[in-house]
């Protein structure tokens, strides 16, 4: 049997750090980085005698996330302790939620590879605290514990096993990321680990209704590794089954360098987390009014923006989709369009050159260093004829390195388009003199010869000459000859 005979079943547990100012149970900053153990206090270091007090924003943000993903909100919720020992977990328990998560039974809609809409159900969203970090001591051969991240608030979003391919998994995660960014509850910086996913993968023969044994890849923090990891696991599991083996339920670590997964834990260390309600915290009871107040403050979400772009700016569904997939791209588009008044051009620049550069540089849209004003100015400069679109591409490249006024860039680089007739005529005459064969060709009816001449002229002027003017002037001059 081959891969086509198997169905892939994937579920994601996504952890998103919430963008609150302070930690979930103490008043320390959540800011990323900083000298080790400087965003800490007796509470997040779990000194004896200290007690947690829940940050009100954490509840609010989790409810926002729940509402934006069509969840039911649990109106009588609580915090539970999940007990296990690890050096990055100072209390030896993580305060999380067990049987009454704040949100449950949600869903989001994504597109599958065929471009069809499909619904991925969300089992639950709960709040919990992040753990600290272990650094390796380069000299002493030990590990060093930094608790700056311990107690940073997280929501864990658990999907049902509704995902059927690595591409769907990527689309699901992109969609989720985009929603969390839109509702401003997480900055979703995957490179800083503020958005990461545990990926559960299993396979089963097509037609089989029972789920296969799943493996879990922990802490994946790029789309690329998620896709590669899933593909690897699908192949590994199918090969195993085809060879008469069995998939074992285990936790895996994906290694990007070797492109394979490794088993993470001793099997003998079967975990028993001994969940129980945290007696240091009190119940969370959310009124209808509280929930409705949050619902009212939800911003416009991607779906409705997409519809609006198609209507208001006449964008194609594809373009509207691509733009609204990211809050940052979408905001850049709207702001640029408001300034320059040219939606088509804004959209094209963002979806072609800017997206290409992001891809090449492996950047996320929120890392675009320049502003809508800058992009709007580039568009205006083209419209005025100050620069050609060829130059404009170079300006945009330059904006990624040096986010400053485009006028300043073209002036500094000397990229202003030559539209002065005298100067253009001088170049045209010079090129005609150097290329008599092309002149002859044109006269003999080969119109393409003009293209060659214009090309030569552009080369001579390093792309700054106005191509329309060149074209016109070559024809005029040859006709005079």
């Amino acid at each position: 049997m081959s891969r086509e005979d198997y169905e892939v079943v994937i579920g994601l547990e996504v952890h998103a750090e919430l963008s609150t100012k302070t930690k979930i149970f103490c008043s320390c900053p959540t800011e990323f980085g900083g000298e080790p153990n400087t965003h800490c206090c007796p509470i997040c270091m779990a000194l004896p005698g200290t007690l947690p007090v829940l940050n009100e924003k954490v509840v609010e943000y989790a409810v926002r996330a729940g509402l934006a993903t069509n969840c039911e909100i649990e109106q009588n919720s609580k915090n539970d302790r999940k007990n296990y020992f690890y050096p990055d977990l100072p209390k030896a328990y993580q305060i999380s939620q067990f049987d009454r998560p704040l949100c449950k039974k949600g869903s989001i809609e994504i597109e599958n590879e065929k471009g069809e809409k499909t619904v991925i159900r969300i089992t639950r969203i709960h709040i919990e605290e992040d753990a600290g970090k272990l650094n390796h001591d380069e000299f002493g051969g030990g590990s060093l514990v930094d608790l700056n991240r311990a107690g940073v608030p997280l929501i864990e979003i658990v999907s049902e096993p509704d995902i059927r391919s690595s591409a769907e998994a990527e689309n699901y995660l992109r969609k989720l990321k985009s929603i969390l960014e839109y509702i401003e509850v997480s900055d979703c910086k995957m490179q800083e680990g503020s958005l990461r996913a545990d990926v559960n993968v299993s396979v089963r023969k097509k037609g089989e209704t029972k789920l296969g044994t799943r493996t879990e890849m922990k802490n994946m923090n790029s789309f690329r590794s998620i896709v590669r990891g899933i593909e690897y696991e699908i192949d590994r599991q199918i090969d195993l089954i085809e060879d008469g083996g069995v998939v074992e339920q285990e936790t895996l670590r994906w290694d990007d360098v070797s492109g394979r997964t490794f088993s993470m834990r001793d099997k003998e260390d079967a975990q028993d987390y001994r969940y129980f309600p945290d007696p240091d915290l009190v119940a969370i009871r959310l009124s209808d009014e509280y929930i409705e107040d949050i619902r009212k403050t939800l911003p416009e979400l991607p779906e409705s923006r997409r519809e609006r772009y198609m209507e208001e700016y006449n964008l194609t569904e594809r373009d509207a989709n691509l733009l609204t997939a990211s809050k940052y791209l979408s905001n850049l588009f709207e702001q640029t369009t408001t300034i320059c008044g040219n939606a088509k051009a804004s959209c094209n620049w963002i979806l072609s050159d800017i997206s290409r550069i992001l891809n090449e540089k492996e950047l996320e849209p929120n890392q675009i260093p320049f502003t809508a004003e800058h992009l709007a100015e580039v568009i205006a400069l083209i419209e005025k004829g100050t620069i050609s679109s060829a130059i404009a591409k170079k300006v945009v490249e330059e904006l990624f390195e040096n986010p400053t006024s485009p006028s300043k860039i073209i002036e500094e680089k000397g990229w202003i388009q030559i539209s002065d007739e005298g100067a253009i005529k001088e170049v045209v005459l010079q090129i005609l003199q150097a290329n008599p064969q092309s002149v002859a060709d044109y006269k003999a009816g080969k119109e393409k010869a003009i293209g060659f001449l214009v090309g030569q002229a552009m080369k001579e002027t390093k792309g700054k000459a106005n191509p329309q003017m060149l074209n016109k002037m070559f024809v005029e001059e040859i006709n005079k000859m």
Binding site: M45, L47, P48, G49, N83, D272, R274, P279, D280
Partner: protein, 482 residues
């Protein structure tokens, strides 16, 4: 009368009348510690020298309690002074912060004379489970002072501090108070902040007072009670002046006496003493009726399930990484965890961690922990039923008087069963006070317990005060018998 024999309110009167000075108070207690500590062994850390300096610094503090000494149970965090929980695990631990109650004590200008011995991590009822020393009962040095706040009770009874703070998870203030012939008050859960109290069982722990008489309890409760934003379980209520509740009048007070606390488990001399208390209350104009609180056994079982479950989780943080004892014997992380914990905790602590881990573990949670949480509701309901009829409930504090050191240490279950009268109060989060009511034939103190409705400290304080003012038991003094 010597200064160290006076209650705090008597000290305050004399200070007010300029009959004594703060320096004399300090000197009197220092002498007393020098004289008696070698016999009683109540302190883990003595800070009387620091106290001298502190008194000078606080000379201008306008608080009326400025300069009054106090002793602190060694599970309450004190900035810059060791907080050991009487455990090898925390032998050298110095908290970089003050517990909320310590902030209040300091604000009131009081000076701590040191940290008082206890059962390790407050687990036990005899103070024999201290890693450092066995505290003796000032009435008879061969007997235990009770526990876990045994050091606090013994120090107050011996006159080494005028009063002390303790903590009570299942009777740890009331039982040693009863064993040492003093007054012990466990406030309603949530009345006093737990921030800075090293947790044993978070849903049961409560800081309270050990004092020579009831008026001092009210005075000290005035200092430590109050809402604290750092403790989510702290009650947000208006402050009361508990001394105003002391009216020396119980006419019309309705007292219920549950028959379940007069069974075989209770010593005959204790029962007789309680009968006399009942008689006294009747004479003073209170109505006393027998009632039923048929949850005693359930409550005790529930207590050990919940307390140990919470403790097993609360004590996970002692892992040899950030503070506390670290084994010398390690090669890897696992060794640090297991050896530090195995060497750093005493037998009783380990016993409770194992029980707590067991009842929370997969497959047993529903049979034990979940049931215990339901029983807890049952116990609360039973109390509520009784409080619909009665203002206070009266029981013995302990099933017997203080026992001989070493006589029960190998029988944990028997030790646990002795907490029969005090434990249900913590299960329901109610206030309870133990008041001396005589001596048995061997001259050991007996105490009775008054239990009130949630936050009805005023009611039980007044009932206790009225009894105390109309009897002479508070005048008994320990004899340091050998």
């Amino acid at each position: 009368m010597e200064i160290y024999e006076l209650t705090v309110h008597e000290l305050l009167e004399k200070l007010d009348k300029k009959e004594i000075t703060k320096e004399e108070i300090l000197a009197s207690y220092q002498n007393r510690i020098n004289e008696k500590e070698k016999d009683v062994q109540a302190f883990v850390t003595i800070t009387e020298q620091e106290a001298k300096e502190e008194i000078k610094q606080k000379a201008n503090n306008p608080s009326k309690l400025a300069g009054i000494p106090i002793g602190i149970k060694d599970n309450i965090c004190t900035k810059g002074v060791k907080t050991t929980c009487a455990s090898k695990m925390l032998e050298n631990f110095v908290a970089p912060y003050d517990a909320t109650v310590m902030e209040k004590i300091n604000e009131a200008g009081m000076v701590s004379f040191g940290k008082l011995n206890m059962d390790e991590f407050a687990m036990g009822g005899s103070t024999e489970h201290s890693y450092f020393k066995k505290t003796k009962n000032p009435w008879n040095l061969n007997k235990v002072p009770g526990g876990s706040s045994g050091g606090s009770a013994a120090a107050v009874a011996a006159g080494m501090v005028p009063w002390a703070l303790g903590s009570d998870t299942g009777g740890s203030i009331r039982q040693p108070a009863s064993f040492c012939g003093i007054v012990g008050l466990k406030p309603t859960y949530g009345l006093v902040s737990r921030f800075g109290l090293v947790a044993f069982a978070s849903s049961l722990d409560q800081i309270g007072t050990l004092t020579k008489d009831v008026k001092d309890s009210a005075l000290l409760l005035n200092v430590i009670a109050g809402h604290d934003e750092k403790d989510s379980t702290s009650a947000d209520r208006e402050k009361e002046d508990y001394t105003k509740a002391l009216k020396n009048d119980v006419k019309g007070l309705k007292i219920g006496v549950p028959k379940e606390y007069f069974g075989d488990g209770i010593n005959t001399e204790v029962k007789e003493a309680i009968e006399k208390v009942i008689e006294k209350y009747r004479q003073l104009g209170a109505t006393v009726e027998e009632c039923s609180l048929d949850v005693a056994d359930y409550a005790l079982a529930t207590y050990y399930i919940i307390a140990c479950a919470e403790a097993s989780s609360n004590l996970g943080r002692f892992d040899g990484i950030r503070y506390g004892y670290r084994t010398k014997n390690y090669e890897n992380l696992k060794d640090i965890y297991r050896n530090s914990r195995s060497e750093g905790f005493g037998a009783e602590v380990k016993r409770r961690i194992i029980l707590g881990t067991y009842v929370l573990s997969s497959g047993y949670y529903d049979a034990y922990y979940k049931k215990a949480q339901q029983v807890r509701t049952l116990v609360k309901n039973e109390y509520a039923k009784n409080f619909a009829k009665y203002d206070v409930i009266l029981t013995p504090t302990a099933s017997n008087v203080a026992f001989d050191i070493g006589s029960k240490i190998n029988d944990p279950l028997e030790m646990y069963l002795a907490d029969l009268c005090t434990v249900p109060v913590n299960i329901a989060g109610l206030p309870g006070i133990s008041v001396p009511c005589g001596l048995n034939s061997e001259g050991m103190p007996i105490g009775f317990q008054l239990i009130g409705k949630p936050f009805a400290e005023s009611t039980i304080l007044n009932a206790a005060y009225t009894y105390e003012q109309n009897t002479d038991f508070r005048k008994n003094k320990p004899e340091f018998k050998n």
